[in-house]
């Protein structure tokens, strides 16, 4: 995802001289270095000082610049939250926040480095667009949409080598959900890179005779309720899947959407249940330990609906 993000940012910077790259001592790898080399006067490292980076981005945006602030998601969101709220969102300023290592993707460093409440915290901020791409190609589409949207955007990025799950040439439209697998028994709705585990869970369930539809939602705010309600129409069993607390994230969004629309369906929310993550290791290890790998998701769905 990071390569896609930096590649897209470079394309945007080529196209528009107002595009800036701000970091708070983040940014690793060849593409990051290449951006700095190609656009030295548009790259600013504000040091380990997220609040200042976010507020300075707001100041830059008041003068017509388009800053993309790239840094670790938990520090960007939690430490600089009031700066995002007051300095960016209150003015609807054109700042793009790129939260890297979101969810559990910095698996080895534990909960201080995980962002498992960022969607909940940010989605209540007026005017802030929230994008949660699932794959590298979808990151490209989200970066383009973020640039084209004149207002604040947060993009929730993983930092592992996330698999590409969409076919080449797939017509990405982040504002519309994607159907990855069709099924008639339950409808699984996923956001972010955990989509690969959701698809894996659907395959496990299929072996047990349960055909699951798998839908990916990458734009969490504004949430395209009409699109999702149309796609889940007829399902009585709905599952939300996210690398996030079950409160306030995708699960919360769906609960509100279903209630607002007066739809009676059983919603089972999979994620972290009022807890921080447990364990250390590779992403696959920590997902397993927290019940968020394909096996864990399939097991929870069977327990919820079939046992």
């Amino acid at each position: 995802m990071l390569s896609s993000c930096m590649g897209s940012l470079m394309e945007l910077a080529e196209q528009d001289k107002n595009v800036l790259y701000l970091t708070a001592d983040s940014g690793e790898g060849g593409l990051d270095r290449m951006f700095r080399m190609n656009f030295p006067d548009r790259t600013y490292n504000f040091g380990i000082a997220e609040c200042n980076a976010v507020a300075a981005a707001a100041g830059l945006a008041t003068a017509g610049k388009i800053p993309f602030v790239y840094t670790a998601a938990p520090f960007l969101v939690y430490r600089a939250y009031e700066f995002i709220r007051n300095d960016i969102c209150m003015q609807n300023l054109n700042v793009k926040l790129l939260g890297t290592g979101s969810g559990l993707s910095v698996s080895s460093l534990g909960p201080t480095h995980h962002s498992t409440e960022d969607i909940a915290a940010l989605r209540v901020l007026p005017d802030l667009m929230l994008l949660s791409p699932a794959t590298p190609a979808q990151v490209n589409a989200c970066m383009r949409l973020a640039y084209e949207h004149n207002g604040p955007v947060y993009i929730r990025l993983g930092m592992n080598r996330e698999p590409e799950l969409f076919e080449t040439g797939y017509p990405f439209r982040p504002e519309v959900s994607d159907i990855l697998r069709t099924g008639k028994d339950i409808c699984m709705i996923s956001t972010g890179s955990i989509l690969s585990e959701a698809i894996g869970a659907a395959e496990i369930l299929a072996a047990h005779g349960c055909q699951a539809e798998v839908i990916n939602v990458s734009m969490l705010k504004p949430f395209n309720a009409a699109d999702v309600l149309q796609k889940i129409n007829g399902f009585k069993r709905i599952v939300s899947i996210e690398e996030h607390n079950t409160a306030g994230g995708l699960g919360g969004i769906l609960a509100e959407t279903l209630a607002d629309a007066g739809i009676c369906a059983k919603l089972f929310r999979i994620g972290l249940r009022d807890t921080f993550s447990q364990g250390y290791g590779k992403l696959s290890d920590i997902r397993a330990e927290n019940g968020l790998n394909a096996e864990g998701i399939a097991r929870q769905i069977r327990e919820a609906f079939y046992e």
Binding site: D41, Y44, F46, G47, A49, C51, N52, V54, A55, A56, A57, A58, G59, L60, A61, T62, A63, G64, K65, P67, E82, F83, N86, D87, M90, Q91
Partner: protein, 275 residues
């Protein structure tokens, strides 16, 4: 201080008090502390701006980081032509365009939304950086409180401004020695503003914060420097009303009936003007 500036600032104090009193709430002491600084920037050729073209890219910008002195900012913005006397007088009344803290969406001329302390210098860093990138020669000014410098983000911004070589950025420290509940140097005791700002790579000057000529002279000296600069303006919180001066009790308070008599006497306000 010239007789003209003296009279203008007396008139502004009077207007600020009447408006705040009628509105039912204001940080009067902070307004009176910062008044001559704001007056110098907006009304004594401290800055380049045009209320007829408030979005002019090459304008100088001002950020009131200590947002609670908003009523004083509105008073000089009113004189500068950004809002009418009638609009100013409607402060905090139904349909008012201006509130207790500056909000960018309320009024052209308010360059940053402030109120939560410790934000303004960072936003000013972004503005000054954009001006530097665009090469227009425009400048950014920001007014900080000395109590506000207890916020850690101020020092994040201070480090970034000097690292980025923002010579077009000037901060003015409204150094009145008081915060909401106590003296600043009795709350967090190591103050040493000159040494601190110098250590963070800033040019430091000191002046009487109630003397517009002295403030202007310092601002003019900023024109040939390579580093961000800070003007430590020694001020008196509540300046102009004897019972309010240097007393933290007045941070966020309007006078009672007995105190009002003193305000009226010292600011030359009539009963009719308070109706």
């Amino acid at each position: 201080m010239s007789q003209h500036d003296l009279e203008e600032c007396m008139e502004l104090r009077k207007q600020i008090f009447i408006t705040g009193y009628k509105g039912g709430m204001a940080h009067l002491a902070s307004c009176f502390s910062a008044l001559e600084i704001l007056y110098t920037l907006y009304l004594k050729n401290g800055m380049r701006y045009d209320p007829e073209d408030p979005d002019l890219p090459s304008r100088d910008r001002f950020v009131l980081s200590k947002g609670h002195a908003a009523l004083a900012l509105y008073a000089v913005l009113c004189r500068a032509g950004y809002l009418t006397e009638e609009e100013y007088g409607r402060y905090l009344k139904p349909g008012s365009r201006i509130g207790g803290e500056p909000y960018m969406r309320d009024l052209k001329g308010i360059e940053a939304t402030t109120g939560s302390l410790g934000h303004g210098l960072s936003m000013a860093v972004g503005m000054a950086l954009a001006q530097k990138m665009d090469g227009t020669g425009a400048k950014t000014y920001v007014l900080l409180g000395d109590g506000e410098c207890q916020e850690g983000s101020i020092w994040e911004a201070a480090m970034s401004a000097s690292s980025l070589g923002l010579a077009n950025l000037t901060a003015i420290l409204d150094c009145n020695g008081l915060q909401k509940t106590n003296r600043v140097d009795e709350t967090l005791k190591v103050v040493a503003w000159t040494e601190k700002w110098k250590a963070f790579g800033w040019d430091v000057m000191e002046t009487d914060g109630h003397d517009p000529d002295a403030i202007k002279e310092c601002l003019d000296k900023r024109r040939n420097t390579s580093a961000p600069g800070i003007l430590i303006a020694h001020t008196v919180k509540g300046k102009g009303v004897s019972i309010m001066e240097n007393n933290p009790m007045w941070h966020f308070k309007l006078p009672n009936k007995k105190e009002l008599k003193i305000f009226k006497e010292e600011l030359h306000i009539t009963d009719e003007e308070l109706v």
